[in-house]
Symmetry: C2
Subunit: 164 residues, 2 copies
Amino acid sequence: MGEPTGNERLFLTDEQIRQGIEAMYFAYRGLTNEPDRILATMAYGRAHHRAIHFINRAPGTTVTNLLEILGVTKQSLNRVLRTLIEDGLVESRVGKVDKRERNLFLTEAGTALEARLSDAQRTRMRATYRDAGPEAVAGFRKVLEAMMDAEMRRKYTTLRETNS
Amino acid sequence: MGEPTGNERLFLTDEQIRQGIEAMYFAYRGLTNEPDRILATMAYGRAHHRAIHFINRAPGTTVTNLLEILGVTKQSLNRVLRTLIEDGLVESRVGKVDKRERNLFLTEAGTALEARLSDAQRTRMRATYRDAGPEAVAGFRKVLEAMMDAEMRRKYTTLRETNS
DNA sequence: TTGGAATGTCAACAAGGCTGACATATTGTG
DNA sequence: CACAATATGTCAGCCTTGTTGACATTCCAA
């Protein structure tokens, strides 16, 4: 077959593929470790983090929109939102044009918690990127986007465009 | 500052870092989608998948070792293992040298389920790698390893070496 | 105007984490 | 040998976060 070219090097053993899957598993755990620890001290969980994260990313978003992004049932999300609203981290305003809708915003306290959780993750991510170098980061991003299915990619790119 | 060099290009805005975190979230969901669907049809969950996966990776592993890899309590793992043993997917043999230990193995049925779940993920991973190309894959692996904390990396590399 | 669709809330249940307490069997040590 | 430490399993009970079902409110279109 001669020297391996770009395409030929793409022949990967099951073992190499398995390692990639395991790497995703362990790395994802590494990324959620610190926020989980912070949340555990205040009777919140990862679900609260996700809600806070995406409300911060798209202030004024509706419950339905959040449901689509998170991929859970409205009942499940509602429970989380209720506690966040009760605790004064999220504000729910009745929609102006369609009163069935609720527009969600972070309060000052909500923004503060978001920043705290986000800082923890970003600090780690920044260190990760620094250690791996810019070319590795470009590859990382490329593989992750290829890994999403069409639906996830749509959600991802929509958020990205909104926060250009 | 002149032309950006490799290191200077590593200055990344919060927005870029955030996108990396979101990409991990959506990609991870993409990777677990299909196994989750399969498991849901048989009253199993992700916890069962993880146990099956790592028993397959390290046949004969002890309960304690599995606990360390998964990072859960023995009560939590035991509940999962008990159902898997009852259902004839996992076999628990009393240790030969230390009879307090239990060595865990997949039965034929367990191996079959592992293969089914694994195939789904590997097929997706293979397509992902093909789409992204070999250089991107190298970067992907590099970033993921940098993302793990020391403990995760130890678990990860131990498994990798065992299955060289 | 009225029936269906969209939106959100409440109630109840299950999976799978957790802690604490305790039993059992085995091993290693003084 | 006696006893402490280790490995595993189990029971009870808690929490978070997913699920389904039922229902109220609001909007819109026939």
